[in-house]
């Protein structure tokens, strides 16, 4: 009894957190843990050709089969988690932070600043994503920081547009006018008055953008610009084993399941964040 009281469950903290959100969070945490402890638990080095056969079936030795070179898929998925979860999360965090901050600034300042910044980012958005990635990576070479920054730059304009549209609406509310009439500085208006009121939709947008980044990252890897061999992110694992599909090889199925489980769980979690239980009469 006293034991159970000490465990801070959501309900005891005054939050309701439905099971869909809990499942989403559990899967995200699972992949995060895999990404961190990955190198310690791979049965084989990710680059070693361990199987004599290619596109091998599920067996006791190879839990997820083997790939087109006879490498262990389980080891490669585990190592790929680092790249996919790490690069995509870092890139989406950068893109959304930058986009949201610029969007709020543009909405509050308005006028010329808003027009120029919006048109600039629109023009930038006009460059096809993969083409832009190709040029940048070809120019500076492929490394993880370059990948993160490139992906963030691709997705920043969209996030900016989204946040600006929301912030423009909040900016016309009376409570913002009251803050302005009080003489509040710019930073307070943006961070305290506007940001908390656009947070919900911005998080939903972040979830969606994360999925796109995972997909583009795999596209870059396919072109040889992403994660360099022998390592591979999940998208690259799907691409390099795509021929196995006609042979019924598990090599292409498991990386796909990994991508699906991560992206779906991110969206499940963000759509079902813990909400504070509020009741008028209490």
């Amino acid at each position: 009894m006293s034991m159970s009281r000490r465990i801070p469950t959501p309900a005891r903290l005054g939050y309701s957190f439905n099971w869909v959100g809990r499942v989403g969070l559990a899967i995200i945490l699972f992949w995060a843990v895999i990404a961190i402890i990955g190198p310690g638990i791979t049965p084989y080095p990710p680059g070693e050709m361990a199987d004599w056969d290619y596109f091998g079936p599920i067996s006791e030795k190879f839990w997820m089969g083997s790939d087109y070179l006879g490498r262990d898929i389980l080891s490669r998925v585990i190592m790929g988690a680092r790249y996919t979860v790490g690069i995509a999360l870092a890139a989406v965090a950068l893109a959304c932070t930058g986009g949201v901050i610029l969007g709020m600034i543009a909405a509050v300042i308005g006028g010329w600043f808003d027009t120029i910044l919006s048109r600039l980012l629109d023009a930038f958005n006009g460059i096809p994503h993969l083409l832009f990635g190709l040029v940048v990576v070809a120019a500076v070479g492929s490394s993880i920081p370059v990948l993160i920054l490139t992906l963030a730059a691709m997705y920043l304009p969209g996030s900016y547009r989204f946040a600006r549209a929301l912030a423009v609406n909040v900016n016309t509310m009376d409570f913002v006018t009251v803050a302005r009439a009080r003489g509040e500085r710019f930073g307070h208006i943006i961070l305290r008055e506007i940001f908390p009121n656009i947070l919900g939709p911005v998080l939903a947008d972040l979830g969606l953008r994360f999925v796109f980044i995972v997909l583009v990252l795999s596209g870059l890897s396919f072109l040889g610009l992403g994660v360099q061999p022998p390592n591979a992110d999940w998208g690259a694992l799907v691409r390099e084993n795509i021929e196995g599909l006609s042979l019924g090889a598990p090599a292409v199925i498991f990386p796909s399941i990994a991508i699906a489980s991560l992206t779906i769980s991110v969206n499940m979690f963000i759509d079902n964040l813990p909400t504070r239980i509020r009741d008028r009469t209490e």
């Binding site: 309701s16 509310m173 009376d174 409570f175 006018t177 009251v178 803050a179 302005r180 009439a181 009080r182 003489g183 509040e184 305290r192 008055e193 908390p196 009121n197 947070l199 239980i277 509020r278 009741d279 008028r280």
Partner: protein, 551 residues
Amino acid sequence: MTQSLVSVRDLKIGAKTDSGREVAIINGVSFDIAPGEIVALIGESGSGKTTIALSLMGHTRTGCAIHDGHIRIGTHDVTAMTERQRAGLRGTEVSYVPQSAAAAFNPSKRIMDQVVEITAIHDLMPRSKAEEKARGLFRALALPDPDTIGDRYPHQVSGGQLQRLSAAMALIGDPQLVIFDEPTTALDVTTQIEVLRAFRSVMDKGGMAGVYVSHDLAVVAQIADRIIVLRGGVVQEEGTTEQILTAPAHPYTRELLDAFEPVPHVPAPQVQAARPILQVDNLCAGYGVIRNGEPTAKVLQNVSLRLERGRNLGVIGESGSGKSTLARAIAGILPAYRGKMMLDGKELKPDLRHRTKDELRRTQIVFQLADTALNPAQSIETILARPLTFYHGMRGAERAGRVVELLDMVHLPAALRHRLPQELSGGQKQRVNLARALAAGPELILCDEITSALDTVVAAAILDLLKELQRELGLSYLFISHDLSTVEAICDEVLVMLKGRVVEALPAARMSADATHPYSRLLISSIPKLDTGWLKGLEQDPDLLAQFTNR
């Protein structure tokens, strides 16, 4: 005894909160409506008046459900019907006139298409006959150009006209019962008269029964035969309009009536201050692109006023008269492009960004809609603490203590400080709104329609609070309102505004006697009185109306 048209027996409606608790909204209400009779449901917000009115159509708002009781309309047992059968009832037997006609019309369809929609849905008559009938209704509702108004889009007619058009929409299916849900609350007083008159004549001619939902006793007195007073989902009193107005039996009804009669304002003893707290000379302000130093849309034109310390100045006018713009220009939110403002003898810069922190502190503005004026993401404590930190540099326990004091000043319990704005009632929100202004320690408060969105009883309580605060803190108010009785209750002097200009300045106590400008007289005569014969006996010069109102 004749069979009643509508009978409601022991109606119970409830809802479930997000923590799974059952809440009763309507608690055993019973009443009858005779054919051709208009019954008013009156009460403050949350009394369940709209919920009852909607339940007559078998409809409940999302989350609510009819738990018990019977509703019968004519020969139909509404509570026992399936949803499909109820849909057949709506529009032909029972119809609904919403509060905001502007929100009820589809902006992308012509008015005629929307008015005759009911006849098409229920397959009542061919389109040409329906249009003929609609034009007849437009004529009966005294709409201008009845033959062509149907070809316009909703944004091409005025608010009062749109409200009458929504009545035409409700009447086209020849219903036996029409539900009016606060149809004139959002309208100006001079427009309200026109709409009420049109409703009255159409209902008298058609012999239909009506349910009129309102919180305004004076409006109800003009149109209803019988009044049902509600509070907390329970009937408090039921009686004929005459009896409720002249001999109310229930204490709550008396409270409602008392709230309607403004307590005459006793002016504070004149403080011999050398300078007025606020002086405004020839102020001009407007919106839009600025060319040659003047904005394209000029709103305020040469407005001058003078407010002595400890006194209250009222500003009245209809929507579009520029009264809110005046408050914004004084607060510096909308910089004036010409004219001079003096706060306590010192000149105020037009743009608030050029004013000092102390000048900003001394003038505070309180907005009409407390819903949008309080940040929905911050707790009441955070909202009240911010001006304390900002202007006075308070922190920690000192600030927390002051927040409790402020809540106490506006008569709210200290426990409320942990709540979010959405968890408060309308009156509570407006008190928090006021407390935030007080937190700055102001000398002048600009009140922009602060009681307009509130029920009569709640508004009266806010006015009492304002007077009490004035006595204790020596405040001065600039009180903007379209409601003359509230202005009368709190102000010493009143400015009447029309199209951005001050047309007349009057002492508040002798407003109706001293008014000389025709527009002031028109405005004052348009205020509904608590008298059933007021609307019938009201004579207004049609030329005057045409001159000053744009409908």
